[in-house]
Symmetry: C2
Subunit: 470 residues, 2 copies
């Protein structure tokens, strides 16, 4: 932060804090930095479980207290939306293209950038937010808007109608060609050409002349079956005659799964009838308030959907609109501490900790284990006596096949001290981390609870501190 800005902030604080405060405090504020702060964390993109600390911050109490809100603000929504995106990815399967389209419903422009970035980490393929594309290198995708189609009334409004064949040669009037194809398509589909909206046809022709290699259609501005679909097929077949291939269609209303199957049928019929093999596999994209339930419905009923745009239900996370990460004091001046509450679930686990993920013989993690920092690491293949949170009264024996220490030190002495992964690396790590989970832990509905445990020594420390505070 520049000196001038820092002075302005300190002056502001002076204006709102009680006038009894010593000047020395404000002088001290102006000297504050993170040079004595150390941060350890579980690598970004890792699956984490409730109660397991994924970030540990050491340093002067005042400084680390000032970091509390900043860190929670940066982590809570990022983790929430990445998790939500990962749920959509799990439901959609690995091959579905998923586009984040939440800019309009996010908490302003910066909330939307966070949504784009962390949806990508969670497993989305691309975003409609061009600024997120520019800033973070996330692939961008878009389709056509209804308003573009509505802005045309008829073919006379198409300003540029001529397109040369892809292989070269004299330009052809694409509008005339599309009109003649429309007749043939309407015969095949048994729908009256008079019901194909002329403004929509004009919009498609106009788009196709401008983007001959990237033509796509939005089918539902007017009637899909009698207008959008015949108009799209007519323009796509006209383009095909000139050597170009359409790249897709989008549907934004109605029963998307059912319509996708009907549209696929029409594409296949056109492909067969007009001998255009690629026509049967034109990608179908859908949007319109897509939720987890929508994806479940698509899977249940079957669909021919290739690409899904998700906005509101991705970025606002309506199934759980907030994530309640907390930042708790666990040690002061080398002494572990504990805030007692009546709710065992809300008890903090005292002391600086090492965290281990224990894997079974099949390579699935089966438990996260918290130990005191000074304890020796558990060994692979050796039996351990531990206490599982939620049933602390009994000792459980486990024998991990592999033991992974989860925390790394990312920041020390005021410096980042570990190379930070790129966004695509974090995204890949997230999918790897999720894929390691056993299916019972990974499933979205009623997953088997993943046990989190403490070592015997940590448990004894907890009992001792609780005894002392009562």
């Amino acid at each position: 932060m520049g000196e001038q800005l820092k002075e302005a902030y300190v002056a502001y604080l002076r204006s709102v804090l009680p006038s009894t405060i010593d000047d020395a405090f404000f002088d001290y504020l102006a000297t504050l930095d993170a040079s004595e702060v150390t941060v350890t964390a579980i690598p970004e993109g890792s699956v984490v479980f409730a109660r397991v600390p994924f970030l540990q911050v050491k340093g002067p109490l005042l400084v680390v207290q000032l970091l509390e809100t900043t860190l929670l603000c940066l982590i809570n929504y990022a983790s929430l939306v990445a998790t939500n995106a990962a749920r959509f990815r799990l439901l959609a399967g690995p091959d579905m293209k998923l586009i984040e389209m939440g800019l309009r419903r996010a908490q302003g422009p910066d909330g939307a950038l966070s949504a784009s970035k962390y949806s990508y980490i969670g497993g989305f393929d691309c975003t409609s937010n061009i600024l997120a594309g520019k800033l973070y290198g996330i692939p961008v995708r878009g389709t056509i808007a209804h308003s573009f189609i509505m802005s045309f009334r008829g073919l006379e409004e198409v300003q540029q109608r001529e397109l040369p064949p892809r292989a070269g040669g004299d330009p052809v009037d694409l509008a005339d060609l599309a009109v003649s194809w429309l007749q043939q398509v309407c015969v095949l589909l048994q729908t009256p050409p008079s019901k194909a909206n002329q403004g929509e046809l004009a919009a498609f022709v106009s788009y196709a002349v401008t983007f001959p290699c990237d033509f796509q259609g939005l089918l539902d501005t007017y009637c899909v079956r009698r207008s959008g679909l015949p108009n799209f097929c007519a323009v796509a077949l006209a383009l095909h005659q000139l050597g170009y291939q359409a790249i897709g269609v989008r549907l934004d209303s109605g029963d998307l799964a059912q319509q996708s199957k009907e549209i696929r049928g029409v594409f296949q019929a056109c492909g067969a009838h007009f001998q255009v093999p690629w026509f049967g596999t034109i990608p179908i994209a859908v949007s319109n308030d897509i939720s987890e339930q929508s994806l479940e419905q698509f899977r249940r009923e079957g669909s021919e959907i290739d690409m899904i745009g998700i906005g509101t239900n991705l970025v606002t996370c309506p199934l759980q609109p907030s994530l309640g990460c907390v930042y708790k004091l666990v040690e002061v001046n080398g002494s572990p501490c504990l805030k007692l509450t009546e709710d065992e679930e809300k008890m903090t686990i005292p002391g600086m900790k090492a965290i281990y993920r224990l894997y079974d013989a099949a390579g699935h993690p089966f438990m996260d284990l918290m130990a005191l920092e000074e304890e020796p690491s558990p060994s692979a293949g050796q039996e351990l006596g531990i206490r599982v949170l939620g049933r602390l009264e009994e000792t459980t024996k486990v024998t991990p096949t592999t033991v992974e220490p989860l925390h790394r030190t990312y920041f020390r002495d005021g410096q980042v001290c570990e190379p930070l992964p790129s966004l695509p690396e974090v995204r890949t790590h997230a999918q790897v981390s999720l894929n390691l989970l056993s299916p019972a832990h990974r499933r979205l509905h009623e997953p088997q609870p993943y046990p989190v445990a403490v070592t015997e020594r940590l448990h004894q420390l907890f009992l001792q501190l609780r005894q002392g505070s009562l």
Copy 2:
């Protein structure tokens, strides 16, 4: 935007758009501005109803299309959270202090700034987000953190114990004074002094010596009744002996309404017993996942709460996590247009419109009326035949006592052309606008639907366009 930045953006667009695009298009993009755009709007902070356009944007189609996402992104969440804040204000009543505390659960730092700004507009009094205070001039408030209290073990850790009386004179050891008051308070409250946590007492003393005119307590780090409350009363009474007055307490767990009454009882008992009249009215603040239901519970059961901090349920709006404002094309080249859908609720109302709010004799608005821009304004006291949305088949007669045109032109020829109100002015306008509503329209549960209507001419235009598109 600087030339260099603009060039970088255009270069990015060139890199992601199809390579078939003419260079001239990118040259054109670099010249784009809003000089031909006009924006009319209903004044910020006004109550608005579904289906009534609150912003109308005129200009070249390409430019106003580019504004779509920006405007929706800026308006949707802002309107949603202001509305949510206004609901909390209606439930809490005009005298309750409401603090926005959502920074940790908002969509990153900028989402949180939007939350603070628009919660204030919706009727909150202050925010815990210091940056929002600095940037927007919103009053800031905070209390003590549990971690501050937990960081103390005993009175020996209090570094500065001496405080001079307010009226001047020799400094007194506040820790010793508080210890002696604790004995007396514990006798009065019939609770053993040994149960009052010494670290908590040390934290309170330390805070009081630093902020003698602004002492406040957080009561629930340990047991409220046996530790937090006696410790707070002891320090507050010690301060009182030196001429200082405590400013409040906060509770962050448990049954807040019930505890507030018990705490008020203790304050009144102390006030009476030790003859400190102001003690009975020490403000009680509460926090901890406060929702609309919490406020309803406080009202139903009665409470002694004076101030409420609301975070998650304010900023993430869990009852409705997104607002679905849309931006629709209603006129092209002077011709009104219509996108047909099967759902009448989603039909756009064609054409540029004037919007009137009609008031009854009691001064309550009873209907919003959309008219074509060129129609004469309805007159106060004259009967009108209109069509109410949702029952368009019949004509309804209404006679407004007052007619208010709602839209003003805020932006013309690339310039803001109307003075923009300050944040406190918008906040006041929001409360005035809400207070004008009749109680039946204003109530939060099952409010009487507020009718929105169109003029006969607008209705005829709609029928004619629908006829033409079918």
